[in-house]
Symmetry: C2
Subunit: 201 residues, 2 copies
Amino acid sequence: MRATTTLWQDFKRQSIQEAVIQLMCREGLGAVTMERVAQEVGIAKGTVYLHYRDKQALLEAVKDSALTPLMERLDDLFDSDLDPLRKLEAYALRYLGYFDERRDLFRILIYEREVTRVSGQRFRGDRYRHLVERTTKVIRAGIDDGVFRDVDPGKAAAMFVEANFAIMNQRLRGGGDAPLEDDARLISEIFLRGLVKRRSK
Amino acid sequence: MRATTTLWQDFKRQSIQEAVIQLMCREGLGAVTMERVAQEVGIAKGTVYLHYRDKQALLEAVKDSALTPLMERLDDLFDSDLDPLRKLEAYALRYLGYFDERRDLFRILIYEREVTRVSGQRFRGDRYRHLVERTTKVIRAGIDDGVFRDVDPGKAAAMFVEANFAIMNQRLRGGGDAPLEDDARLISEIFLRGLVKRRSK
DNA sequence: TCTTAAAATGACCGGCCGGTCAGCGACCCG
DNA sequence: CGGGTCGCTGACCGGCCGGTCATTTTAAGA
Protein backbone atom coordinates (compact mmCIF):
# COMPACT_ATOMS: atom_id res chain seq x y z
CA MET A 1 0.00 0.00 0.00
CA ARG A 2 2.86 2.27 0.79
CA ALA A 3 4.35 1.60 -2.60
CA THR A 4 1.04 2.07 -4.35
CA THR A 5 0.46 5.41 -2.76
CA THR A 6 3.90 6.59 -3.73
CA LEU A 7 3.45 5.43 -7.27
CA TRP A 8 0.19 7.23 -7.57
CA GLN A 9 1.64 10.38 -6.15
CA ASP A 10 4.46 10.12 -8.63
CA PHE A 11 1.88 9.88 -11.37
CA LYS A 12 0.12 12.96 -10.04
CA ARG A 13 3.35 14.86 -9.90
CA GLN A 14 4.15 13.84 -13.42
CA SER A 15 0.74 14.96 -14.64
CA ILE A 16 1.29 18.35 -13.08
CA GLN A 17 4.70 18.70 -14.67
CA GLU A 18 3.30 17.67 -18.02
CA ALA A 19 0.63 20.34 -17.67
CA VAL A 20 3.30 22.97 -17.08
CA ILE A 21 5.13 21.91 -20.22
CA GLN A 22 1.97 21.85 -22.29
CA LEU A 23 0.93 25.29 -21.11
CA MET A 24 4.36 26.72 -21.72
CA CYS A 25 4.48 25.35 -25.25
CA ARG A 26 0.98 26.41 -26.17
CA GLU A 27 0.74 29.84 -24.60
CA GLY A 28 4.16 30.82 -23.34
CA LEU A 29 5.63 31.24 -19.92
CA GLY A 30 3.19 33.98 -18.99
CA ALA A 31 0.32 31.53 -19.11
CA VAL A 32 1.90 29.24 -16.53
CA THR A 33 -0.24 30.14 -13.54
CA MET A 34 -0.86 27.84 -10.65
CA GLU A 35 -4.55 28.18 -11.39
CA ARG A 36 -4.10 27.36 -15.07
CA VAL A 37 -1.82 24.45 -14.30
CA ALA A 38 -4.36 22.95 -11.94
CA GLN A 39 -7.10 23.53 -14.49
CA GLU A 40 -5.04 21.74 -17.12
CA VAL A 41 -4.60 18.70 -14.89
CA GLY A 42 -8.22 18.81 -13.80
CA ILE A 43 -7.60 19.38 -10.11
CA ALA A 44 -7.91 22.34 -7.76
CA LYS A 45 -5.17 24.84 -7.22
CA GLY A 46 -4.71 23.87 -3.59
CA THR A 47 -3.97 20.30 -4.62
CA VAL A 48 -0.91 21.38 -6.53
CA TYR A 49 0.49 22.72 -3.29
CA LEU A 50 0.16 19.26 -1.76
CA HIS A 51 2.81 18.15 -4.22
CA TYR A 52 5.06 21.18 -4.54
CA ARG A 53 5.99 23.69 -1.88
CA ASP A 54 5.51 26.66 -4.18
CA LYS A 55 5.62 27.70 -7.78
CA GLN A 56 9.40 27.93 -7.89
CA ALA A 57 9.75 24.38 -6.61
CA LEU A 58 7.38 23.19 -9.31
CA LEU A 59 9.26 24.94 -12.09
CA GLU A 60 12.54 23.70 -10.70
CA ALA A 61 11.19 20.15 -10.74
CA VAL A 62 10.04 20.54 -14.32
CA LYS A 63 13.44 21.78 -15.42
CA ASP A 64 15.09 18.94 -13.54
CA SER A 65 13.11 16.11 -15.01
CA ALA A 66 13.25 17.63 -18.47
CA LEU A 67 16.95 18.35 -18.63
CA THR A 68 18.64 15.89 -16.31
CA PRO A 69 18.45 12.99 -18.79
CA LEU A 70 20.10 15.14 -21.43
CA MET A 71 22.82 16.26 -19.06
CA GLU A 72 23.49 12.66 -18.12
CA ARG A 73 23.79 11.58 -21.71
CA LEU A 74 26.18 14.43 -22.39
CA ASP A 75 28.18 13.83 -19.23
CA ASP A 76 28.56 10.18 -20.22
CA LEU A 77 29.94 11.41 -23.50
CA PHE A 78 32.32 13.83 -21.83
CA ASP A 79 33.53 11.05 -19.54
CA SER A 80 34.14 8.66 -22.42
CA ASP A 81 37.56 8.11 -23.92
CA LEU A 82 36.74 9.36 -27.38
CA ASP A 83 39.16 11.87 -28.79
CA PRO A 84 38.09 15.53 -28.57
CA LEU A 85 37.05 15.79 -32.18
CA ARG A 86 34.70 12.80 -31.97
CA LYS A 87 33.34 14.09 -28.72
CA LEU A 88 32.19 17.30 -30.32
CA GLU A 89 30.67 15.41 -33.22
CA ALA A 90 28.85 13.10 -30.85
CA TYR A 91 27.75 16.04 -28.73
CA ALA A 92 25.81 17.58 -31.60
CA LEU A 93 24.21 14.27 -32.42
CA ARG A 94 23.08 13.57 -28.88
CA TYR A 95 21.95 17.11 -28.27
CA LEU A 96 19.79 17.29 -31.36
CA GLY A 97 18.63 13.73 -30.91
CA TYR A 98 17.41 14.32 -27.41
CA PHE A 99 15.27 17.30 -28.26
CA ASP A 100 14.12 15.80 -31.51
CA GLU A 101 12.28 13.10 -29.64
CA ARG A 102 10.67 15.49 -27.21
CA ARG A 103 10.53 18.89 -28.81
CA ASP A 104 8.44 20.37 -26.05
CA LEU A 105 11.34 19.92 -23.66
CA PHE A 106 13.37 22.34 -25.71
CA ARG A 107 11.04 25.07 -24.53
CA ILE A 108 12.09 24.28 -21.01
CA LEU A 109 15.70 24.76 -21.96
CA ILE A 110 14.87 28.12 -23.52
CA TYR A 111 13.01 29.04 -20.39
CA GLU A 112 15.92 28.17 -18.15
CA ARG A 113 18.40 30.13 -20.23
CA GLU A 114 16.21 33.15 -20.40
CA VAL A 115 15.33 33.30 -16.75
CA THR A 116 18.95 32.81 -15.82
CA ARG A 117 20.03 35.60 -18.08
CA VAL A 118 17.21 38.08 -17.65
CA SER A 119 17.13 37.87 -13.90
CA GLY A 120 20.86 38.43 -13.92
CA GLN A 121 21.20 36.20 -10.89
CA ARG A 122 23.59 33.33 -10.65
CA PHE A 123 21.72 30.08 -10.33
CA ARG A 124 23.10 27.21 -8.38
CA GLY A 125 22.03 24.63 -10.91
CA ASP A 126 23.02 26.53 -13.99
CA ARG A 127 23.21 23.73 -16.49
CA TYR A 128 24.23 25.96 -19.34
CA ARG A 129 27.37 26.97 -17.48
CA HIS A 130 28.12 23.33 -16.79
CA LEU A 131 27.84 22.47 -20.46
CA VAL A 132 30.17 25.25 -21.48
CA GLU A 133 32.71 24.28 -18.86
CA ARG A 134 32.85 20.65 -19.86
CA THR A 135 33.04 21.60 -23.53
CA THR A 136 35.86 23.97 -22.67
CA LYS A 137 37.86 21.10 -21.24
CA VAL A 138 37.30 19.02 -24.35
CA ILE A 139 38.52 21.81 -26.57
CA ARG A 140 41.49 22.46 -24.35
CA ALA A 141 42.39 18.79 -24.59
CA GLY A 142 42.12 19.02 -28.36
CA ILE A 143 44.44 22.00 -28.39
CA ASP A 144 46.95 20.19 -26.19
CA ASP A 145 46.80 17.23 -28.55
CA GLY A 146 47.65 19.55 -31.41
CA VAL A 147 44.44 18.70 -33.22
CA PHE A 148 42.71 22.01 -32.62
CA ARG A 149 44.03 25.46 -33.24
CA ASP A 150 45.29 27.51 -30.36
CA VAL A 151 42.24 29.60 -29.53
CA ASP A 152 40.59 30.59 -26.27
CA PRO A 153 38.88 27.30 -25.36
CA GLY A 154 36.21 28.96 -23.23
CA LYS A 155 35.08 31.19 -26.05
CA ALA A 156 35.19 28.43 -28.62
CA ALA A 157 33.11 26.30 -26.26
CA ALA A 158 30.54 29.05 -25.86
CA MET A 159 30.31 29.31 -29.64
CA PHE A 160 29.88 25.58 -30.01
CA VAL A 161 27.20 25.19 -27.37
CA GLU A 162 25.36 28.17 -28.74
CA ALA A 163 25.61 26.87 -32.28
CA ASN A 164 23.91 23.65 -31.23
CA PHE A 165 21.19 25.65 -29.59
CA ALA A 166 20.76 27.77 -32.69
CA ILE A 167 20.35 24.78 -34.96
CA MET A 168 17.89 23.09 -32.63
CA ASN A 169 15.97 26.32 -32.53
CA GLN A 170 15.85 26.38 -36.31
CA ARG A 171 14.67 22.79 -36.42
CA LEU A 172 11.90 23.67 -34.03
CA ARG A 173 10.69 26.71 -35.89
CA GLY A 174 11.56 26.02 -39.49
CA GLY A 175 9.62 22.80 -39.58
CA GLY A 176 12.71 20.70 -38.96
CA ASP A 177 12.35 18.65 -42.08
CA ALA A 178 16.01 17.72 -42.33
CA PRO A 179 17.16 14.48 -40.69
CA LEU A 180 18.89 15.24 -37.45
CA GLU A 181 22.02 13.46 -38.57
CA ASP A 182 22.36 16.00 -41.36
CA ASP A 183 22.02 18.90 -39.00
CA ALA A 184 24.47 17.38 -36.54
CA ARG A 185 26.92 16.93 -39.38
CA LEU A 186 26.36 20.53 -40.44
CA ILE A 187 27.30 21.75 -37.00
CA SER A 188 30.40 19.61 -36.84
CA GLU A 189 31.50 20.48 -40.35
CA ILE A 190 31.15 24.22 -39.98
CA PHE A 191 32.49 24.42 -36.47
CA LEU A 192 35.38 22.03 -37.04
CA ARG A 193 36.21 22.56 -40.71
CA GLY A 194 34.85 26.01 -41.37
CA LEU A 195 32.38 27.46 -43.80
CA VAL A 196 34.97 28.27 -46.41
CA LYS A 197 35.44 25.68 -49.11
CA ARG A 198 38.75 23.86 -49.01
CA ARG A 199 40.99 24.76 -51.89
CA SER A 200 41.19 21.12 -52.93
CA LYS A 201 40.25 21.80 -56.56
CA MET B 1 10.14 78.13 -27.84
CA ARG B 2 8.57 75.31 -29.72
CA ALA B 3 11.96 73.88 -30.41
CA THR B 4 13.15 74.37 -26.85
CA THR B 5 10.17 72.57 -25.42
CA THR B 6 10.69 69.67 -27.76
CA LEU B 7 14.33 69.45 -26.91
CA TRP B 8 13.62 69.41 -23.23
CA GLN B 9 10.99 66.75 -23.66
CA ASP B 10 13.44 64.72 -25.65
CA PHE B 11 15.84 65.04 -22.76
CA LYS B 12 13.18 63.87 -20.34
CA ARG B 13 12.34 60.94 -22.53
CA GLN B 14 15.98 60.04 -22.76
CA SER B 15 16.36 60.20 -18.99
CA ILE B 16 13.46 57.84 -18.58
CA GLN B 17 14.90 55.41 -21.09
CA GLU B 18 18.27 55.58 -19.39
CA ALA B 19 16.59 54.77 -16.10
CA VAL B 20 15.03 51.67 -17.61
CA ILE B 21 18.40 50.49 -18.86
CA GLN B 22 20.09 51.17 -15.55
CA LEU B 23 17.42 49.31 -13.62
CA MET B 24 17.51 46.39 -15.99
CA CYS B 25 21.27 46.07 -15.73
CA ARG B 26 21.41 46.45 -11.97
CA GLU B 27 18.43 44.39 -10.85
CA GLY B 28 17.07 42.55 -13.84
CA LEU B 29 13.92 42.86 -15.87
CA GLY B 30 11.70 42.12 -12.91
CA ALA B 31 12.75 45.34 -11.24
CA VAL B 32 11.59 47.46 -14.16
CA THR B 33 8.40 48.83 -12.67
CA MET B 34 6.84 52.10 -13.71
CA GLU B 35 7.13 53.19 -10.10
CA ARG B 36 10.81 52.24 -9.89
CA VAL B 37 11.59 53.84 -13.21
CA ALA B 38 10.01 57.12 -12.11
CA GLN B 39 11.84 56.90 -8.80
CA GLU B 40 15.12 56.41 -10.65
CA VAL B 41 14.56 59.51 -12.74
CA GLY B 42 13.34 61.47 -9.75
CA ILE B 43 9.82 62.13 -11.01
CA ALA B 44 6.38 60.79 -10.21
CA LYS B 45 4.92 57.76 -11.86
CA GLY B 46 2.18 59.74 -13.56
CA THR B 47 4.75 61.88 -15.29
CA VAL B 48 6.15 58.91 -17.14
CA TYR B 49 2.73 58.47 -18.71
CA LEU B 50 2.95 61.99 -20.12
CA HIS B 51 5.79 60.72 -22.29
CA TYR B 52 4.81 57.14 -23.05
CA ARG B 53 1.36 55.74 -23.59
CA ASP B 54 2.01 52.67 -21.48
CA LYS B 55 4.75 50.38 -20.28
CA GLN B 56 4.97 48.45 -23.50
CA ALA B 57 5.46 51.65 -25.49
CA LEU B 58 8.27 52.63 -23.15
CA LEU B 59 10.05 49.31 -23.46
CA GLU B 60 9.56 49.37 -27.21
CA ALA B 61 11.14 52.81 -27.32
CA VAL B 62 14.07 51.66 -25.24
CA LYS B 63 14.69 48.71 -27.53
CA ASP B 64 14.39 50.96 -30.54
CA SER B 65 16.88 53.58 -29.50
CA ALA B 66 19.26 50.95 -28.18
CA LEU B 67 19.29 48.65 -31.16
CA THR B 68 18.43 50.75 -34.18
CA PRO B 69 21.93 52.24 -34.49
CA LEU B 70 23.40 48.75 -34.49
CA MET B 71 20.95 47.53 -37.08
CA GLU B 72 21.75 50.50 -39.28
CA ARG B 73 25.47 49.86 -39.06
CA LEU B 74 24.92 46.23 -39.95
CA ASP B 75 22.49 47.02 -42.74
CA ASP B 76 25.04 49.42 -44.21
CA LEU B 77 27.47 46.56 -44.16
CA PHE B 78 25.03 44.16 -45.79
CA ASP B 79 24.30 46.75 -48.47
CA SER B 80 27.99 47.30 -49.21
CA ASP B 81 29.75 45.62 -52.10
CA LEU B 82 32.22 43.66 -50.04
CA ASP B 83 32.49 40.00 -50.88
CA PRO B 84 30.58 37.61 -48.60
CA LEU B 85 33.63 36.50 -46.69
CA ARG B 86 34.65 40.03 -45.79
CA LYS B 87 31.10 40.86 -44.88
CA LEU B 88 31.02 38.18 -42.24
CA GLU B 89 34.38 39.28 -40.89
CA ALA B 90 33.20 42.87 -40.74
CA TYR B 91 29.93 41.81 -39.16
CA ALA B 92 31.69 40.34 -36.13
CA LEU B 93 33.82 43.42 -35.75
CA ARG B 94 30.91 45.84 -35.89
CA TYR B 95 28.71 43.73 -33.70
CA LEU B 96 31.26 43.37 -30.94
CA GLY B 97 32.41 46.94 -31.37
CA TYR B 98 28.96 48.36 -30.93
CA PHE B 99 28.23 46.61 -27.68
CA ASP B 100 31.73 47.09 -26.40
CA GLU B 101 31.18 50.81 -26.26
CA ARG B 102 27.84 50.53 -24.51
CA ARG B 103 27.75 47.22 -22.72
CA ASP B 104 24.49 48.02 -20.97
CA LEU B 105 22.73 47.99 -24.32
CA PHE B 106 23.59 44.34 -24.70
CA ARG B 107 21.18 43.63 -21.89
CA ILE B 108 18.45 45.14 -23.99
CA LEU B 109 19.29 42.75 -26.79
CA ILE B 110 19.12 39.84 -24.39
CA TYR B 111 15.80 41.11 -23.17
CA GLU B 112 14.37 41.35 -26.66
CA ARG B 113 15.49 37.86 -27.59
CA GLU B 114 14.15 36.34 -24.44
CA VAL B 115 10.80 38.01 -24.54
CA THR B 116 10.40 37.13 -28.17
CA ARG B 117 11.22 33.52 -27.52
CA VAL B 118 9.54 32.96 -24.18
CA SER B 119 6.29 34.57 -25.17
CA GLY B 120 6.31 32.43 -28.25
CA GLN B 121 4.58 35.21 -30.13
CA ARG B 122 5.79 36.63 -33.37
CA PHE B 123 6.85 40.21 -32.99
CA ARG B 124 6.47 42.74 -35.72
CA GLY B 125 9.89 44.27 -35.17
CA ASP B 126 11.81 41.09 -34.61
CA ARG B 127 15.32 42.32 -35.22
CA TYR B 128 16.88 38.95 -34.58
CA ARG B 129 14.97 37.45 -37.46
CA HIS B 130 16.02 40.30 -39.68
CA LEU B 131 19.67 39.72 -38.86
CA VAL B 132 19.46 36.04 -39.62
CA GLU B 133 17.69 36.68 -42.89
CA ARG B 134 20.24 39.16 -44.15
CA THR B 135 23.07 36.91 -43.06
CA THR B 136 21.40 34.05 -44.87
CA LYS B 137 21.52 36.03 -48.10
CA VAL B 138 25.20 36.76 -47.63
CA ILE B 139 26.00 33.11 -47.09
CA ARG B 140 23.88 32.09 -50.05
CA ALA B 141 25.80 34.56 -52.19
CA GLY B 142 29.04 33.06 -50.94
CA ILE B 143 27.86 29.61 -51.88
CA ASP B 144 26.84 30.78 -55.33
CA ASP B 145 30.27 32.33 -55.74
CA GLY B 146 31.84 28.99 -54.90
CA VAL B 147 33.63 30.45 -51.90
CA PHE B 148 31.53 28.77 -49.26
CA ARG B 149 30.61 25.15 -49.00
CA ASP B 150 27.18 24.01 -50.05
CA VAL B 151 25.34 24.02 -46.74
CA ASP B 152 21.90 25.20 -45.69
CA PRO B 153 22.47 28.97 -45.63
CA GLY B 154 19.68 29.63 -43.15
CA LYS B 155 21.14 27.28 -40.60
CA ALA B 156 24.65 28.48 -41.11
CA ALA B 157 23.40 32.03 -40.66
CA ALA B 158 21.68 31.14 -37.41
CA MET B 159 24.91 29.59 -36.18
CA PHE B 160 26.89 32.64 -37.11
CA VAL B 161 24.57 35.17 -35.53
CA GLU B 162 24.35 33.08 -32.41
CA ALA B 163 28.11 32.67 -32.25
CA ASN B 164 28.51 36.43 -32.22
CA PHE B 165 26.00 36.67 -29.44
CA ALA B 166 27.79 33.97 -27.48
CA ILE B 167 31.12 35.71 -27.69
CA MET B 168 29.68 39.07 -26.73
CA ASN B 169 28.03 37.37 -23.81
CA GLN B 170 31.36 35.92 -22.74
CA ARG B 171 33.02 39.32 -23.03
CA LEU B 172 30.34 40.77 -20.81
CA ARG B 173 30.57 38.14 -18.11
CA GLY B 174 34.13 36.93 -18.27
CA GLY B 175 35.55 40.38 -17.76
CA GLY B 176 36.11 40.93 -21.47
CA ASP B 177 39.80 41.57 -21.15
CA ALA B 178 40.64 40.54 -24.70
CA PRO B 179 40.70 43.28 -27.35
CA LEU B 180 37.55 43.13 -29.40
CA GLU B 181 39.54 42.72 -32.59
CA ASP B 182 40.90 39.45 -31.23
CA ASP B 183 37.48 38.16 -30.42
CA ALA B 184 36.11 39.23 -33.77
CA ARG B 185 38.96 37.42 -35.44
CA LEU B 186 38.27 34.35 -33.31
CA ILE B 187 34.69 34.24 -34.54
CA SER B 188 35.70 34.64 -38.16
CA GLU B 189 38.49 32.11 -37.93
CA ILE B 190 36.46 29.39 -36.30
CA PHE B 191 33.33 29.96 -38.30
CA LEU B 192 35.06 30.38 -41.63
CA ARG B 193 38.14 28.18 -41.27
CA GLY B 194 37.09 25.75 -38.57
CA LEU B 195 38.47 24.76 -35.22
CA VAL B 196 40.58 21.95 -36.59
CA LYS B 197 44.18 22.82 -37.35
CA ARG B 198 45.05 22.85 -41.04
CA ARG B 199 47.40 20.08 -41.99
CA SER B 200 49.87 22.60 -43.32
CA LYS B 201 52.78 21.17 -41.34
C1' DT C 1 1.15 90.71 -7.52
C1' DC C 2 -2.69 88.32 -9.70
C1' DT C 3 -4.37 85.08 -13.46
C1' DT C 4 -4.31 81.09 -15.71
C1' DA C 5 -2.88 77.32 -18.37
C1' DA C 6 0.20 73.73 -18.52
C1' DA C 7 3.05 70.39 -16.01
C1' DA C 8 3.68 67.33 -12.38
C1' DT C 9 2.04 64.66 -8.64
C1' DG C 10 0.83 60.55 -5.92
C1' DA C 11 -3.31 58.59 -3.78
C1' DC C 12 -6.23 55.51 -5.56
C1' DC C 13 -8.44 51.74 -8.33
C1' DG C 14 -8.96 47.25 -10.42
C1' DG C 15 -7.13 43.09 -11.85
C1' DC C 16 -3.97 39.35 -11.32
C1' DC C 17 -1.71 35.84 -9.04
C1' DG C 18 0.71 33.16 -5.46
C1' DG C 19 -0.42 31.05 -1.43
C1' DT C 20 -3.73 29.57 2.64
C1' DC C 21 -7.09 27.03 5.14
C1' DA C 22 -11.74 25.99 6.90
C1' DG C 23 -14.63 22.83 5.33
C1' DC C 24 -16.50 19.03 2.53
C1' DG C 25 -17.16 14.44 0.85
C1' DA C 26 -15.41 9.59 0.38
C1' DC C 27 -14.17 5.82 2.68
C1' DC C 28 -13.04 2.73 6.47
C1' DC C 29 -13.67 0.83 10.98
C1' DG C 30 -16.01 -0.29 15.15
C1' DC D 1 -25.02 4.19 12.04
C1' DG D 2 -21.53 7.27 14.34
C1' DG D 3 -17.14 8.90 14.27
C1' DG D 4 -12.69 9.66 12.52
C1' DT D 5 -9.13 10.11 8.89
C1' DC D 6 -7.55 12.04 4.78
C1' DG D 7 -7.33 13.79 0.15
C1' DC D 8 -9.15 17.47 -2.05
C1' DT D 9 -11.42 21.80 -2.79
C1' DG D 10 -12.06 26.66 -4.12
C1' DA D 11 -13.30 30.93 -1.78
C1' DC D 12 -10.51 34.09 0.15
C1' DC D 13 -6.49 37.05 1.41
C1' DG D 14 -2.66 40.16 0.74
C1' DG D 15 0.62 42.16 -2.07
C1' DC D 16 2.02 43.96 -6.40
C1' DC D 17 1.73 46.66 -10.33
C1' DG D 18 -0.08 49.07 -14.42
C1' DG D 19 -2.76 52.84 -15.28
C1' DT D 20 -5.92 57.07 -13.95
C1' DC D 21 -7.16 61.62 -12.60
C1' DA D 22 -8.46 65.21 -9.20
C1' DT D 23 -5.44 68.15 -7.09
C1' DT D 24 -1.38 70.85 -6.46
C1' DT D 25 2.70 73.20 -8.20
C1' DT D 26 5.02 75.88 -11.45
C1' DA D 27 5.83 79.58 -14.34
C1' DA D 28 4.77 82.84 -17.84
C1' DG D 29 2.36 86.98 -19.00
C1' DA D 30 -0.27 91.05 -17.77
